[in-house]
């Protein structure tokens, strides 16, 4: 069967069970959009900025575990995807980005809307392709989805010149891929697993440190089983939140720069760190030399390059977290953690997360959202509100907290929440946002309204780029250089787009506003006018050790 390149692309996407694409058409992808016009199997969501297409596909992928797909035209369309691709790369999100390219005879000529997008995205993609012939399309798409979704997932970019879309070639969808250079290790080495079991059995002060890899691997049950078997506390990174429910007695919440005091103390005094799908990021470890100074480290990760990258590891296990834990747990015997757990529980009682009571406190708003919709999918932007969302929302489910961790992309949360809601239409989806972050992609209100994607946005409006302001307050003598934001009427903004807006000024209005937002069958913005100079505490200053953690009493 002979098909045009564009048709072959559609067929290939169908073979990969793609039913959702986020994108914007443009000059060199018109043949693809022309094929899309006839398509029933695939719903295309027209966003208002390509960056949002990438973030929405990313949110969709994180919420569902499927591969997210976004599409853009050449040149500016493609370069607008870049931040979204980098975001997905840093957080290991399976994403396929399809871009149009100028015709093959024009490539390299600085043609209209030409950008070398495979070159630009080289360091932020797991792999990329520039397709030269229509006949390459099925194989390329097959490989792209395989690479994006297996091993340590990541974004793959496929760049398709316009003439390749219109040329005709035989179509046959390959059954398998042959990539001799790409064979991820899923099974952990049995000898290493035995060594790990021995170290765990001998440990007196173990801490389980869980990252995003546990979610990706679907290992929540195994993490819980491990913790309960050996009776050890579990701390999670921003990416790992929800792996073990926050209410679980063994949960210590988040560790690191804005982690709980008790998590950071536990890590510092631990004699064994069991790192699961985590990468010892600088926001987690603080000063690396003082990180868990007396601990042996077991590191389980599917990506061998993460092992030994930032810290010295005693027992590395390369493999899929879920499978490794399934092999490890049956080998574990009695542990001696009773004393340790008592100590940890004392820290937990002594140093709870707490906040003041004056004015409208952002922490209170998060707690109320958590109380009124405990099973909501929570997306965030980046900054103070993101940390409050991590700290004060009672995370219950592994795929319900969606946040840009590695790249820290402001403007991520809102389009990601649209993608998440499309992927899981029956669930409540909240975007917790700052006023700075939200305005970076607020044009997507148009998308949410156009497709009736009823996401609820809670803006923590302090009139500042709050996290930077906090650093300026604490470390730069309150010199608030370029962090004061001008006033925006978000209720009117919502109205202009056809969404619903609510303004909240006092604590008593919080719960009614959330209830109203849930009741209104529309995308909703709640403008919470929070205490403008509230800080995120506790905090480990950059470059300090985890136990040099400050709170509102000794830092603010």
């Amino acid at each position: 069967m002979n098909l045009s390149g564009a048709k072959a692309l559609m067929k290939s996407l169908e073979c990969e069970h793609v039913d959702t694409i986020f994108g914007i058409p443009g000059g060199v992808v018109i043949p693809i959009y022309d094929e899309l016009f006839n398509q029933e199997a695939i719903t295309h969501y027209l966003v208002r900025h390509e960056q949002a297409a990438a973030h929405a596909a990313d949110g969709y992928a994180r919420a569902t575990g499927k591969v997210g797909v976004c599409m853009a035209t050449s040149g500016p369309g493609a370069t607008n995807l870049v931040t979204g691709i980098a975001t997905a790369y840093m957080d290991s999100v399976p994403l396929v980005a399809l871009t149009g390219q100028v015709t093959t005879d024009l490539i390299g000529n600085d043609a209209f809307q030409e950008a070398n997008i495979t070159g630009i995205t080289l360091p932020i993609t797991k792999h990329s392709y520039l397709v030269h012939e229509a006949s390459e399309i099925p194989q390329t798409i097959k490989e792209a989805f395989h690479i994006a979704s297996t091993g340590r997932p990541g974004p793959v970019l496929v760049d398709i010149p316009k003439d390749v879309q219109t040329m005709s070639a035989r179509f046959e969808y390959p059954k398998k891929v042959h990539l001799p250079g790409y064979q991820p290790t899923y099974e952990g080495h049995p000898g290493q697993i035995k060594r790990a079991a021995k170290a765990i059995t001998e440990a007196h002060r173990p801490v389980i440190y869980v990252g995003g890899g546990a979610k990706i691997s679907g290992a929540s049950e195994e993490v819980r089983a491990l913790a309960e078997t050996i009776v050890a506390p579990v701390t999670m990174t921003l990416m790992g939140m929800g792996t073990l429910p926050a209410e679980h007695p063994l949960s210590l919440g988040m560790l690191g720069m804005h982690g709980t005091k008790y998590a950071n103390y536990a890590v510092t005094e631990s004699d064994l760190i069991i790192a699961i799908g985590a990468r010892f990021d600088d926001r987690v470890t603080g000063k690396i030399a003082s990180f868990a100074p007396n601990a042996k480290i077991i590191h389980i990760d599917i990506d061998p390059a993460e092992i030994g990258k930032n810290v010295r590891v005693d027992i590395p296990i390369v493999g899929d977290v879920k499978r490794v834990l399934q092999k490890l747990i049956p080998l574990l015997k009695d542990t001696h953690t009773k004393e340790w757990m008592e100590k940890v529980q004392t820290w937990k009682r002594e140093y709870p997360l707490e906040f003041g009571e004056t004015g409208l406190k952002p922490q209170y708003v998060v707690r109320e959202i958590s109380r009124l919709c405990p099973d909501a999918v929570v997306c965030t932007e980046v900054g103070q509100h993101q940390m409050w969302a991590a700290q004060y929302f009672s995370h219950r489910h592994p795929r319900n907290f969606i946040s840009s961790g590695g790249l820290g992309t402001m403007g991520y949360g809102f389009p990601a929440s649209i993608g998440a809601k499309i992927g899981r239409p029956d669930e409540t989806v909240f975007d917790l946002a700052g006023d700075g972050s939200f305005t970076m992609n607020c044009q997507e209100l148009a998308t949410a309204v156009a497709y009736d994607v009823q996401v609820k946005v809670a803006i923590f409006n302090n009139g500042y780029l709050g996290m930077v302001r906090q650093w300026q307050e604490l470390f730069y003598d309150r010199r608030y250089s370029q962090t004061k934001l001008s006033e925006i009427n978000f209720v009117k903004l919502a109205d202009a787009f056809g969404a619903h807006g609510i303004r909240v000024d006092s604590p008593s209005e919080v719960a009614p506003a959330i209830e109203e937002a849930l009741a209104v069958p529309k995308p909703v913005i709640i403008d919470f006018r929070i205490e403008p100079e509230e800080c995120v505490f506790p905090m480990v200053p950059a470059g300090a050790a985890l136990n040099e953690i400050i709170d509102a009493k000794n830092g603010g």
């Binding site: 495979t118 070159g119 080289l122 360091p123 797991k126 792999h127 520039l130 690479i147 990539l179 001799p180 250079g181 790409y182 064979q183 990506d303 061998p304 390059a305 092992i307 030994g308 990258k309």
Partner: protein
């Protein structure tokens, strides 16, 4: 310390950019990089000389392995290997010193590949030590230009680096 790393890659466009780009963006220093097709024309072999301690080279190896088109990475420095580099050296030479230069060239088993009234081009292959020695001997005559291929290397003995992780 220098490490000589042998890398088998799929012979595809962009693979060199991907490999070289990885070094620069992760802050590793390449001393030299050579690439050419192997006995199997679908596969190329790169020889990369990288400076750094064992931890750095371990990361380099792991990061290289993550590239989809990289089939096999092997740190030759860990075993016994042969390395060679080819250098062309253009030296100032006239009738007064040509004979002396030719003597030096002979001692190093190098060859003269171009003669002009005021210059010579010398071709020499060898390992780094030999090449450095020759270059320092030729400095006195005036070196006009040097071009080097970069190091090529193969492990000694019958063992080969298989072109497939399959």
């Amino acid at each position: 310390m220098k490490h000589t790393v042998s890398v088998l890659v799929q012979n595809k466009p962009g693979v060199l950019a991907r490999t070289a780009g990885l070094f620069s963006r992760r802050g590793y220093n390449i001393e030299s990089l050579t690439v050419g097709v192997t006995e199997n024309e679908a596969i190329s072999r790169m020889t990369i000389v990288v400076a750094g301690d064992d931890t750095v080279v371990e990361q380099v190896t792991k990061q290289l392995n993550k590239l989809i088109e990289v089939i096999k990475v092997s740190d030759l420095t860990k075993e016994s290997y042969v390395d060679r580099e080819l250098v062309l050296i253009k030296v100032t030479a006239d009738s007064s010193n040509r004979a002396e230069i030719m003597q030096i060239v002979n001692i190093f088993r190098a060859r003269i590949v171009d003669v002009a009234p005021k210059s010579l081009i010398i071709e020499v292959t060898g390992d780094e030590g030999k090449l450095d020695a020759l270059i320092s001997m030729l400095k006195q005559f005036g070196i006009k230009e040097i071009v080097r291929t970069g190091t090529l290397a193969l492990g000694r003995g019958p063992k080969v680096i298989q072109s497939g992780k399959d």
